[in-house]
């Protein structure tokens, strides 16, 4: 973290002050309630996210899981104000008490990166190809802090060191970086202003498994070190188990289940969570047969014509006529909550859901 031989005494002081100022930022608290997002399309409104609520306590991680197309990234983009202009966003997102939904670009200028920063989904394309990485990191620092380019660059060097990239590569361009290096550069950029809230939108999706695990342990290490709040969007339940205190499982734009990660993964209440768990490989336990991977048959329903009842009913092996006609309310059990009519039968479901045949029997009826 040290070793700026080229930095003059004045710049070194300025850097020290900048670092102190940034380190003093507290972790942010985020309270999202009733968040709904509609796109208007030629065939009517598209309900991408419907009445989503969750809370991220200061200094904790929240995992947002679900399969592709269920609205996870849309939630993140809404929090950053990055959705297209024609999108209708309702509800509230209180960042340390201030609602950040519906702010104009000008008002968001102070919020973005200063208070919430973003680790993007596709680091491959999320860096500007014609600027060197260092300039792109400095751009973020200079936009928010009253420092000169030299100091900003020195800060960028420190961030590069933090993610394990050599400082001289700041002068290189995105196309000279490998996928893993680009992802690390994007993480360095996200950390540059030590924002109180970090949104990590599938930070490892585009990487190979070895790189995925390296990047995730890097993120966890940094998190332990800096104590920021974070929303981690992923479809990998194992990553959530390792990283997040709380988890929100989304399905087709709605929250299916949420609660402390341990509880949700040990005793899932919603059949969709059970299905998700089945679909991820687990370490084999000695003396027991290896658990088969079971996929959930079918696909996410078309949200232009959302089904009348529970949105998961069409793919749920336990669905009844009630499920298909009435949308379930959210039931609270302990610290956990789930939107399922039959939460009280969850323990029965868990046993049945572990059997591949339960899910296989669904397939013809699709």
């Amino acid at each position: 973290m040290t070793g700026h031989q080229t930095l003059g005494p004045a710049a070194a002081t300025a850097l020290g002050q900048l670092n102190e100022r940034l380190a003093a930022k507290p972790a942010a608290h985020l309270q999202v309630s009733g968040l709904s997002i509609h796109y208007s399309t030629l065939r009517g409104p598209f309900n991408a996210v419907d009445n989503v609520s969750f809370e991220v306590a200061a200094g904790t991680n929240l995992g947002l899981v679900g399969e592709s197309g269920c609205g996870k990234s849309t939630v993140v983009k809404a929090l950053m104000g990055l959705l297209p202009e024609m999108t209708r966003v309702t509800g509230q997102a209180l960042l340390d008490g201030q609602n950040i939904l519906g702010l104009s670009d000008a008002d968001l200028q102070d919020v973005r990166w200063n208070r919430i920063s973003l680790i993007t989904q596709s680091a491959m394309n999320s860096l500007d190809p014609v600027y060197c990485i260092g300039d792109q990191i400095c751009e973020a620092i200079l936009a928010h802090e009253p420092v000169g380019k030299t100091v900003a660059w020195a800060r960028a060097e420190q961030m590069f060191a933090l993610v394990g990239l050599p400082a001289e590569r700041l002068r290189e361009f995105p196309h000279q970086f490998s996928g893993g290096m680009r992802q690390r550069a994007v993480i360095a950029m996200a950390l540059a202003l030590n924002a109180g809230m970090l949104l990590a939108d599938e930070p490892t999706t585009a990487l190979d498994p070895i790189m995925q695990s390296q990047i995730m342990s890097r993120i966890r290490g940094i998190h332990d070190h800096m104590r920021r709040s974070m929303i981690l969007v992923t479809h990998d339940i194992a990553v959530v188990a390792e990283t997040c205190e709380t988890v929100v499982v989304m399905y087709a734009g709605k929250v299916a289940e949420s609660g402390p990660t341990q509880d949700v993964l040990d005793r899932p209440l919603h059949p969709y969570t059970m299905g998700l768990q089945n679909a991820f490989p687990r370490l084999p336990v000695r003396g027991q047969p290896r658990k088969p991977l079971i996929s959930i048959p079918g696909t996410v329903p078309n949200l232009l014509l959302p089904p009348a009842g529970c949105r998961f009913a069409g793919r749920c092996p336990f669905a009844t006529n009630l499920c298909r006609s009435v949308a379930p309310p959210t039931y609270q059990i302990g610290a956990q909550s789930a939107a399922c009519h039959y939460v009280e039968r969850a323990s029965q479901f868990r046993v049945a859901a572990a059997e591949p045949d339960t899910w296989r029997s669904m397939e013809p009826s699709r």
Binding site: K77, M80, G81, L82, E85, D105, A106, L108, Q109, D110, V111, R112, W113, N114, S117, L118, T120, S122, N125, S126, L127, D128, P129, V130, Y131, C132, E139, A140, A143, H144, F173, H175, V186, M189
Partner: protein, 321 residues
Amino acid sequence: MRAYILRRLAQSVLVVWAVTTIMFFMFRVMPADPTAILLERGLSDEARLALMEEWGLTGSLWDQYVAYLGNIAQGDFGNSFFYRKPVWDVLFPLIVNTLWIAIPGLLMGAALGAAIGTAVGWAPRGGKLERSGIFLATVIRGVPNFVIGIALLTVFSSTLGWFPGFGMGDPGATTGFARYFTLDFLHHLALPLIAVTIYFLPENLLLMRSGVVENRTEDYIELVRAKGVPQRRVAWHAARNSMLPLITWLFPALAETIAGIVVIEIVFSWPGVGRELVLAVTRQDYPLAQAAFFLLAVMIVLANLAADLAYGKLDPRVVYK
């Protein structure tokens, strides 16, 4: 890098040679007699032959061609049939005159076009600014450029009387090189310069707009927005990435201008090289026309090379091999 430039220069020589050859034979297969314009009808055949001899138009076509190539290899493009002096003496001042309207006109057209194009491309899709910007660009592009010239003349010269209507200077004004630094010259320069600027504006505007429209939805723009920089800065990222095709187009356009603004030169009676080129062809003034085309070929080839080199500066992904 050096190997690349050398190879490109070698290719350029080849291209220029090919153009020169085609030009040479094209003029000679035209069924016309270049001596007709200078000789009075009824002059003796001997006099005509003597003139042909002097101009190097006797002997087989092949011999003429070899002699011509040999001469231009030594930098000798011959004498103009019409003006009866070396072609460079005729061409050089005209080229300078043309460059006076071509280069600033092109640069202003590119700069203005790029700026407006960025604004139009960044504006909400289907909004007023976008629609009127595209409409304006398409209209200007569709209008023949002599119409633009005549319109400018009608409004600012005939009606308002703000600017002179033709030529490069009032009678009795300073001549020679010093004239380029007189107010009188700038006064005459204004209208043709505006005409050239307007002529180049729409192409740049549309090119830039489509680039910005394409780039504004890229992932990196989303990240720039997320960084909380002013919107102008976000638009700049899109513009900066859209400049690359503009540069590729700009340099060759500069060379093509020399020929392309003929009409503007004629409308404003601007004594430029384009106007002279047309006259030279109609007068069968082979040496002058060939030299002018040779020059254009060299300029276009060099401009393309310059564009490729500038591209490498603007786009770090470009590598010269």
